[in-house]
Symmetry: C2
Subunit: 262 residues, 2 copies
């Protein structure tokens, strides 16, 4: 396992020398010059789509919560200047950098077509619609998640695996912010009440403790008014291979490691 | 939670009076008569696609393991007659019955478009390719899983949530066979070594114990020669609301509750 993780993290490390702009332009269509690319229609644009921004599929509850946290990302001082607020919206893209294979051999086809699991469906609103916000001071992360009709498990309800996927996404991102690039080592999930398809839920993660390379995070999934507990996970372990000090930067790396081509 | 589960299981119960044929034909396109439906091209056919059967995207390892277990589903007696073998292949479809909403209100659009999370992508080989086999006598269930390029988490590797989804699928199906319709109550997953995209793995579940309404199941994900442990989960709890005796029948219900329209 250590060997496999080592290869993966060497892959992660290769991100650290890349500014976002280079990452964004790593897949220009070969048949366009850089000049013509400027006038491309949006569906052929090399500019990555940030999936964490609102789209027409978002319902009122999703939009309301997005505005609630987004409005706290930037505050205006008395002098009228803008400065960072208590929350930070985390951008979200849908694919790995072409060369970030983690040292593992993959066929060229798989490598070029790979997409992030949670962003692999083109149709807006059909699967995972979500946005993550981080509160650095409070060491909390929040995910707002609207479950689309393609996530069915029990009839009319969200699949347990889709809920686990969102918990892994929120806690994994949170652990990366806190401890640098991590791999999930353990998920322990209790399902309390099923989530109907189409509904919006709140996913909140908080730091339990850090012990050496291990970051322990707890997470709960509730209704948007926090009155109903859907799912909770306690003491999820995320394992850090290389302890790097700049968590914020690594979170950025975590985000730009997926760029959009859909 | 009990109330929510109660509504869900009333939904499940409604399956029990349905023969498979009725389930399969519950969505005839309104503009075709039953006579013209017979001659429909395959993409408009109301006959559900069984996703557990081989397709052209399956690699050699996936096919080899399929043949290994499938060849043990039927044996020939000395008299030349065929009879059930030790293993049973479990069919797999991609949607819930229209009326199986579990009593929860869903919009008509969501209800009609809902698809099983693990079968929601049309492109063969792109996401979850899997087949499940059950051994009734040994109380074991086996899943053969080929991970497509749309399941990426860490660069070049399968997302932890996609692995959790497959574990939930195998253990949930197994618990349903053993105890009747169940809901997953707990998943406790340890990730040991990452799974490269494109690879095929073996998922084996076994019964730990049954205590009242709870069915405890353990599961491990290994390389196809069982030499490398990728992931394991111990004591996953699946909660049964109504104790029904005919596990085999309910497994069938579990399967036919998803029919194909893609």
């Amino acid at each position: 396992m250590a060997g496999s993780l080592g290869r993966l993290f060497r892959g992660f490390q290769s991100f650290t020398s890349l500014p976002a702009t280079r990452a964004q332009l790593s897949h220009p269509p070969a048949f366009f010059s850089s000049r013509t690319m400027v006038t491309l229609p949006s569906f052929l644009s090399s500019k990555p789509r940030d999936f964490s921004l609102p789209n027409s599929s978002w319902g009122p509850e999703m939009l309301r919560l997005y505005e609630l946290y987004n409005s706290q990302c930037e505050v205006e001082t008395e002098g009228g200047e803008k400065q960072e607020g208590s929350w930070q919206r985390l951008p979200s893209y849908n694919r790995s950098l072409k060369f970030a294979t983690g040292g593992v051999y993959l066929s060229k086809i798989i490598q070029s077509k790979a997409r992030l699991f949670t962003r692999n469906i083109r149709e807006q609103g059909a699967a995972f619609e979500y946005v993550l916000f981080n509160n650095k001071e409070e060491q909390r992360c929040v995910g707002i998640f609207q479950a689309g009709h393609l996530l069915e498990g029990p009839p009319g309800h969200v699949h347990g695996g889709a809920i686990a996927t969102m918990i892994d996404t929120v806690t994994g991102t949170h652990a990366t912010i806190l401890s640098g690039p991590v791999m999930t080592a353990n998920l322990n999930i209790n399902y309390r009440s099923p989530i109907p398809l189409g509904s919006t839920v709140l996913i909140e993660s908080s730091l339990d403790t850090k012990e050496g390379r291990k970051t322990f995070i707890s997470c709960k999934v509730t209704s948007t008014d926090s009155s109903k507990l859907h799912t909770e996970s306690t003491g999820d372990v995320h394992l850090n291979k290389h302890s790097l000090s700049d968590g914020t930067f690594l979170c950025h790396i975590f985000s730009v490691s997926h760029i959009s081509t859909l």
